[in-house]
Structures are given as C-alpha cells and as structure tokens.
C-alpha cells in the first residue's frame, strides 16, 4: 500500500467519530511543548544574573524572550504535528516565511549591516523591536528551527507524490548517496590537496590562518590514523590520545635530555607509540565492542595520570618545556644563529621572519598527513587491510578461515598508534611545551567524532570533518557566546541528514570488471 492511499484513508477516517482530529491533536502537542519550554526556559532564559558596577549581585529579567520562545516553539510543534497528519500546507508556508524573516533578518544583524538598524530596530527604546529577540544570533537559531519545519513538510509532501518509503526506495536512496559521496570525494580530494598546498602563498596566507590550519591538519592526521583502527578494523578506541601523548613525550624527553632534533626523534616517537599500542593491545584485544571501548578509555586515563604523577620523569603537571623547535633538516630558523652555523634565512638569502617557521611547520604536517593517507590507502588493498575489514564484519568467520584475529587486530592498533606518535612529536615541536592537560579524554572524543562524522573509512570525509570540527569553532569565534550553540546545531544537522557520516562510501579493494576490460583490450592486437 502506498502512502497516497494511506493518506486517503486518513481523510476518510477523519469523518468517523473515533478518528483523532488533526487540529485537536496538534493543539495538544503544542500545549505540551509550551509547558515544557516554559519549565525549561523560565529560570535559565528569564533571569540573568549581573554584577552591576560596585553594587551587589543583581539580575535582569527577560520575560519577553521566554514568551517568544514558548510561542515560537509551540507554533513549530503545532505545524510539525499537522505535517504528520498530511496537512503540510500551513507548515510549508508559515515555516518558510518564518525562516526567511528570522534567519534573514538575524543574519543581517549578526553581520552588523546598516540596514539592520533602520529596518528592525525601533527608534523608541520603550517600543519593542520588530524581531522577537534582541540578540540577532538567537533569531538566526530560531530561523533555523523554522527551516527544519519547512524542510520536514516539504519532505512529507514529496514522499506523498513519489510513493511510500519502502525498503527498495530507501536502499536506492542510500546507494545514490554513496555514489554521490564517491564521485564528490573523487573531485574534492585533489582540490583539497592543491588548495592545502597553495594556501600559505603570499596573496592569501597570513600567519594566523596558517597557524590555524596547522592545528586542523594535525587533527586530519590523527583522524586518518584513528580511521585505521575504528573505520577499517572496527575496534572502538576511546583512548587514542594516549598514543599521541606517548609520541609527544618521547620527543620532549629526547630533545631535552639527549638533544636529538625533530627529524631524529620522529621515527623513535612513532616506534615508541606503536610499542605502547602493542603493549595495550595484547591483553585487551580479545575483548569486543563496548568492553574494548571501556578498556581503551581506561588506558588513556592511565597514561595521563602517569604523566601527572611521575614528577621526576615527566615533570608532572608542569610538563616539559624548552623543547627544541623544528628545524629545516638540521638548519635552524633563528635570527642570530650560533657562530659558524647557517640559519634558514641566510641559507636561502631571505629576510628573517618568524612566519617562515610556521609555514615550514605547515608543510611538514601536510607531508606527514599525506603519508598517513597514502599508507592507509595502500594498506587497505593489502591482505592485511582486507583482513581488518573482514574482522570488522565477522570475527567468527575470520577464525574459521584461518585468520589470526589477535595479530590482525594488533597490527591495526600498532599502525594507528604509530601515526598518533608521529602527530604527537609534531605537536611537541610546534608548541615547544607539553603538559598532561593537552591529552585529556576530550581530545580522544574529538578525534573519534571526526572519524564518525566524516564517514567511517572515508579519507576525504575525515579531512572535511576535521576542517568542520576544528576549523568551525575557530571561524565562529566572533559569535562568542553562541559559538558552541551553532556548532552543536551543525553537528545535529549533519547527523540528521547524513547519519552514516558526511561522505561515507566503500569501494571494493579489488574489482572484477576493471580487469575484464584490461584483459579484453589486447585481443584485437593478438590477431596481428
């Protein structure tokens, strides 16, 4: 039975006495929402504490905002419930108009365009302004809510004309999304790489931008590293930051005690992190799923606690300072190099500038990240990569095929940890100072969020997600108070629209068709 006939049934049933009246139902829902919003918002929105100059703590009331919030939210709920009863028109029109007004006006206000004052702010301070909320950003957020109502009604309308949401329709939609993600990634990947390479160049690159991008690229690299563990091997690792810390501290100690430079320490830091990965993995990898996640979470905390408490070795909460800054393969970036040595700017005959080091750091992290990416792509097509994915799909079947599950998982864990170690030592040389505070659980959570948001196993997706997750808060810094609110809203939207991640798709590691073409091609030549 399609939705069209179902809709007709609804309407026919409406005349009967037992059927619920859509308007009454929607009104009930709206009332319930109003009460809920009032209870939740009355204290939090209605009162704001304020310290007035030289006086006691005081508060200001914002009853009008509470009233508006209650009114708008219950109106939205009313329209959404109507949509459920196939009355989509009011939601479509009202939602669309409200979105245009609130969102449009709000954005004009956020951007502080001069029209905002003349159009939406009344000159008389006692008269309320023409927008519901004083802060333009709050209007933008409610505008997004209206957009959601509009989108929901539009979707219901379209589904009604297309036909029911059968399994075939959904599968086809998923396949379409996957092939779109694949094509899009194919185009986006090279563009991103080229863009990343030219961005520090003169006309665009300023130091702050490059500095932010170094941070983003560090997370891209960490995301790609964790993608091996979580995306390919399917091992949920909540303590990934521990290996990042091991890498950072390895370089920190090697630099401050033995005086090794970054390039000498890099392989050692990777090896050290991989060793830790194996040491952790060996006892715990017989666990599956949630249990593994909890143990890795614990491991991350253990490493952090050791870093805090082992004063003599790690410097405790004070961390390690004075870590050698990065050098150009042995040639330092210094204004006044020691007697008889060269500095980077003298070698290349340039004016000394601190930006040179930042730009070099940027290219180093790009290089490291691209190596991670390249190795991951290669590994996926190796037998070990296929075994990782098979293990993710069905461990029991893998055993039956004679695949050693422990070793296979250990390699994934160790390789993932190694890349975290590389990233960690890069972090140490960039900061010049490391302390346990940089390696808290929230970092693990952010890296995992990047992998999941990007679409597990998708390399381009992870890069885009890192750009969003790390870059967006930086860009939104100007919104100050509402930064995290907008950020959270964007995350919710992505999860609603693309529950499997931004760009999730999977290309088989070996294709039959491709080869057929290759085999077929030389046949005419063979006749000669």
């Amino acid at each position: 039975m399609t939705d069209v006939t179902q809709g007709r049934n609804h309407r026919a049933a409406d005349t009967g006495p037992a059927a619920p009246n859509p308007y009454v139902e929607s009104l009930k829902e709206a009332l319930f929402t109003a009460v809920l919003v009032f209870l939740l918002g009355f204290l939090m929105v209605g009162y704001q504490t304020e310290v007035l100059q030289g006086k006691q703590m005081s508060y200001v009331t914002r009853y009008a905002d509470v009233a508006w919030a209650v009114a708008l939210m219950s109106a939205g709920r009313f329209l959404l419930t109507l949509t459920r009863f196939d009355r989509t028109l009011p939601a479509l029109i009202l939602g669309g108009l409200a979105c245009l007004y609130l969102f449009g006006a709000g954005v004009i206000g956020v951007l502080e365009l001069p029209i905002y004052e003349s159009l939406f702010v009344t000159p008389d301070p006692l008269q309320p302004d023409t927008l519901p909320f004083e802060q333009p950003m709050v209007n933008v957020i409610f505008g997004l809510g209206a957009l959601f109502v509009f989108a929901a009604s539009a979707r219901t309308r379209r589904r009604k004309t297309v036909g029911g949401q059968t399994i075939e329709v959904r599968e086809a939609a998923e396949a379409r999304q996957a092939s779109f993600a694949r094509n899009f990634s194919g185009i986006l990947g090279p563009i991103l790489i080229v863009l990343a390479l030219v961005i520090p160049m003169k006309p665009w690159g300023d130091r702050q931008l490059v500095d932010s991008l170094v941070l983003v690229m560090t997370y891209v690299m960490l995301g790609w590293g964790l993608n091996i563990v979580v995306g390919l091997a399917g091992l949920l690792d909540l303590g990934y930051v521990a290996f990042y810390a091991v890498g950072a501290y390895t370089y920190g100690k090697l630099s401050t005690t033995l005086g090794l430079n970054f390039w000498e320490s890099l392989p050692l830091a990777g090896a050290m992190a991989a060793t830790f990965g194996i040491a952790l993995g060996f006892p715990v990898l017989r666990l599956r799923g949630d249990y593994l996640a909890i143990v890795t979470l614990g491991f991350g905390e253990i490493i952090r606690l050791i870093l805090i408490n082992w004063q003599a070795f790690t410097g405790g909460p004070n961390g390690i300072g004075n870590i050698a800054k990065i050098d150009f393969f042995g040639i330092p970036f210094e204004r006044n190099p020691a007697e008889g040595t060269m500095a980077f700017h003298t070698l290349f005959g340039l004016e000394f500038s601190t930006t040179q080091r930042v730009v070099f750091l940027y290219y180093v992290i790009i290089g490291l990240a691209l190596i991670t990416n390249f190795v991951t792509i290669r590994l996926r097509k190796m037998p070990i990569g296929r075994a990782w994915e098979a293990l993710r799909e069905d461990e029991t079947a893998c055993r039956a095929l004679g695949i050693n599950p422990t070793n296979t998982k250990l390699t994934a864990f160790a390789i993932g940890a190694m890349f975290a170690g590389f990233a960690g030592s890069f972090f140490a040389t960039r900061q010049g100072f490391i302390s346990p505070e940089s390696f808290t659980f929230i970092e693990s959570a952010v890296i995992l969020a990047i992998v999941v948001l990007g679409g597990m196993g998708s390399q381009v997706g992870v890069a885009v997600a890192a750009l969003l997750l790390i870059g967006l808060p930086e860009v939104l810094r100007e919104l100050s108070l509402y930064r995290m609110l907008v950020f959270g809203g964007v995350m919710v939207l992505i999860m609603l629209l693309r529950p499997k991640g931004l760009l999730s798709y999977r290309v088989p590691t070996i294709l039959y068709k491709d080869r057929k073409k290759k085999v077929m091609a030389p046949t005419p030549g063979a006749a000669q």
Binding site: A397, R399, L401, G402, I403, P508, L511, K513
Partner: protein, 276 residues
C-alpha cells in the same frame, strides 16, 4: 579402536574422531562418539534437533575445546594434526579444515570477490612478506594476488555468481549466499570441508544444484566432506557414509541404506513404540 593410540592414521582415513566427549557444565552435548571420515567421500552427520551435530563441528573446527577425546586429521602434506590441541584459527591455517555456518556468516559489507580474497589471506600474507614487500609493490606479491584472484574468479564462475562479483555479499539472495560461503571455504584450499546444513532454506531446484556442486567438489578436489543436513533427499542422495547422533551419542554408522533401515535410527526420528 583403542589400539590406535599412536598418531598413525589408517591409509585412506582423513579424520579420526576418537571417544569424543563435550560437556557444558552438567550437560553432556556429545557423549563418547567415535567415527572416521575418509578423503574422496562425503560423510553425512544426521540426527534430530539438539543431537549435538553442530557441537561436533565446533569441536572439529576448534571453536570448542573437547572435554575428552581425540581428533586426528591427516593434514595437507600427509602429516597428522591433533586438532583438539590446536587454537581455533590454526586449524584453518595449518590443518586446512574449512567450514560453513548454519546461519550464513559472510562478510556482508565486502564485495563477493573480496570475500573470496579474504579466504586466501594466509597465502597472500606470506607472499606479501607480511605486508612489507607488498607495500613496496614488488612483483612477487603482484603475481600472488593475480593468482589468488584467478582462483576466486574460477570459483565465482563455477557457482554462477561472476555477474555479481563486485556487489556487496550481503545484498545477494539467500541461496546465492549459501553457495558463496561454500566457495569461500573452498578458496582456503582445505583437505576437509565441514558444511553445517548447507541446504537449509533452499528450494528443491537449488538443493539439487547444491548436491551436484558437493559431488563435483568431492570428485575434483579429492577432499573429504563432512555434512550436517536435515534434508534427507540431499544426505541420502550424496553421502557415501552416514553417522547418526541422538542425545549426543552415536546410534548408527554405515552406508545410507544401512542407516535408513536401522531400527535405532527409526526410533530416534519417529519415537518409541508406546506398548513397551
């Protein structure tokens, strides 16, 4: 039978199950079962539900450690393996015992061809120098992968799934998934193939095709097959030898004809006469 306490197997015996007992706490799932299976033969294992057939398979393929008893297998080079002492995955890796599952266990998200490539993991790992040489792209590995792929393709052609080689295995119809699982097990190049109810859920035409496939595997590859099956037309039709289990004990052992007329078997399947 007890005299065979050495690790020596009679000439054409492939698998020797000796006094196998498996207890789960107080429950005796298999009770003192002994039988042998030969190469180039299909050995059927039948019995009512809960007779211990799948437990027997799990013991042979290393998913369970038997409580008592011995499982002796003639490996690919003729050398004996004591399966009861081996880790689960090594039975597949070294002793070359492959199995399929009662509830199909493919890698549903991977393509059909990839499923068959994963089955050749150990061979390819070796050829890729435990990934190191493979990462460098040496020809040794490339040739090994080509060969592995040719083997996979030949199996796909045999089971008539070559047209869906690049599709996800999970999207195949049920009967195709059953055949793919058998092909995947065969890609490990086993000496003993254990099939757990391969005809379950197949229609008569598919069952007939399956019988033909199993017979061709027996004759062409010269390996032994161990077959659990409830579909009597399949078991009786293709088995060279049948073992009947009931409540964990062996109640009959012999050719299909002998087993069919064994009063103990009839009793187990149809129930005891009330008058006694």
């Amino acid at each position: 039978m007890t005299a065979a306490a050495t690790t020596h197997l009679a000439d054409n015996t492939l698998l020797e199950v000796e006094r196998l007992t498996m207890r789960f706490g107080g429950l005796v799932a298999i009770n003192d079962v002994s039988f042998s299976a030969r190469s180039r033969q299909i050995t059927g294992v039948i019995g009512p539900n809960g007779a211990g057939k799948t437990t027997l398979f799990n013991c042979i393929t290393g998913f369970y450690k038997p409580t008592v008893g011995r499982l002796l297998l003639r490996g690919p080079g003729g050398q004996p393996f004591m399966l009861e002492r081996m880790d689960g995955f090594r039975i597949g890796q070294k002793a070359k015992v492959a199995r399929t599952f009662q509830n199909i266990r493919l890698f549903p998200g991977m393509s059909v061809l990839e499923n068959l490539m994963v089955a050749q993991h150990n061979k390819l790992m070796h050829a890729s120098g435990w990934t190191v040489l493979g990462l460098l792209g040496l020809p040794v590995y490339r040739h090994a992968e080509e060969a592995a792929r040719d083997l996979a393709v030949s199996w796909l052609e045999r089971i008539k799934l070559i047209h869906v080689a690049d599709e996800p295995a999970g999207s195949l119809p049920y009967g195709d998934q059953r055949r793919l699982e058998i092909a995947r097990a065969m890609c490990t190049e086993p000496v003993l193939l254990c099939l757990d109810e391969p005809a379950a859920g197949l229609n008569p035409k598919e069952s007939a095709e399956l019988s033909a496939l199993l017979l061709s595997i027996r004759d062409e590859f010269g390996i032994g097959l161990l077959l659990i099956e409830h579909d009597m037309s399949v078991v009786m039709g293709i088995s060279d030898h049948i073992v009947v289990l009931d409540y964990g004990s062996k109640i009959s052992d012999g050719s299909p004809l002998e087993v069919r007329n064994d009063p103990a078997v009839i009793r187990a399947y149809l129930g005891e006469d009330e008058k006694e």
